[in-house]
């Protein structure tokens, strides 16, 4: 390595193994931050759930359990396709990866559509974030989650475009894996939101 061709610009090109493990660690750290960002809402939920059990019980019935369940299935399925997409690119199968990413994106969009119908039904019944503490929590938790879905979709869109262009191979696919981690977090948070809001209120 130590030949005369060493140039100043070389510093930014890390050893690929280091870059790979750095990126992954970086994303895990970011997920930790995300968990604590939602943490404030989870803490608020815990306190008000304990303080006003009747309110939560009466009002959670207003939420559409079926739509929530459908969305849970959609997200879990998208997590599956995402994970399979990562495996596919690690084996160098670019086409399979592109298809799997596309399915994941479609699932994410589907989730958004269902959520849109849910929100508009709520507004139709004059239920807004300031209706009660419970609905404040509902709108803020699902709203913040929805924002993460959108960010996730944007990341997936970029990954999809780059996959089609053939940027990722069995040797270099760090962004796919790291982006996948982010998408799984979106699923992970929903796994908690669904029972907390729709099921046990």
């Amino acid at each position: 390595m130590g030949d005369a061709s060493v140039e100043h610009s070389h510093g930014h090109h890390m050893d690929p193994a280091v870059e790979y493990s750095s990126s992954k660690l970086g994303m895990w750290l970011f997920l930790g931050t995300e968990i604590l960002l939602f943490g404030g809402l989870f803490a608020a939920y815990a306190i008000f759930r304990a303080k006003y059990p009747e309110m939560f019980f009466e009002q959670h019935v207003e939420l559409n359990k079926k739509m929530g369940a459908v969305n849970t299935c959609i997200l879990i399925f998208s997590s599956l396709t995402m994970a399979m997409g990562v495996s596919a690119i690690q084996r160098g199968k670019q086409k399979a990866t592109a298809i799997l990413l596309l399915i994941t994106i479609l699932c994410g969009l589907g989730f958004g559509v269902v959520k849109y119908f849910e929100y508009s039904a709520k507004f139709h019944h004059h239920i807004y974030p300031d209706t009660s503490i419970f609905f404040s929590l509902y709108f803020l938790m699902t709203g913040l989650h929805m924002l993460h879905v959108f960010i996730g979709l944007a990341i997936l869109g970029v990954l999809f475009a780059l996959t089609i262009k053939g940027k990722f191979t069995a040797k270099y696919n760090t962004p796919v894996e790291v982006g996948g981690l982010y998408w799984h977090l979106v699923d992970l948070i929903w796994i908690y939101l669904f029972p907390l809001l729709y099921l046990i209120g």
Binding site: W28, K65, L80, M82, S87, L188, Y192, P195
Partner: protein
């Protein structure tokens, strides 16, 4: 030139495993929805949260490959959770042990 393969971290999980994991997740979702229609009182919350936690762990371990990660990743995956528990735990301790002034 070394590639990722030397680290051993780049574990490729087979699709079979993923589909089993997915099936388990779907079954648990069904269970938790089903249980929500039966009134167990306080147990409903416990069941829902336990099921959600198992699901979340499975997603983290398999889909997110935490199972194959090094210890430092584990530390940074679990430490935020303990802080979250601290935030919730201590805020609740405060809120529900306050002196009620008549």
């Amino acid at each position: 030139m070394s590639t990722q393969s030397h680290t051993g971290q780049n574990h490729i999980t087979g699709n079979k495993t993923y589909i089993i994991v997915w099936a388990v997740l779907m079954v648990m979702t069904a269970v938790t929805v089903y249980v929500s229609y039966i009134n167990f009182g306080i147990l409903n919350i416990v069941i829902a949260l336990v099921v959600a936690s198992i699901k979340a762990s499975i997603v983290a371990l398999y889909f997110m490959h935490l199972k194959f990660e090094d210890s430092i990743t584990w530390v940074f995956a679990l430490f935020p959770l303990s802080l979250l528990a601290l935030l919730i735990g201590m805020t609740i301790t405060d809120t529900f042990t306050r002196t009620i002034v008549p």
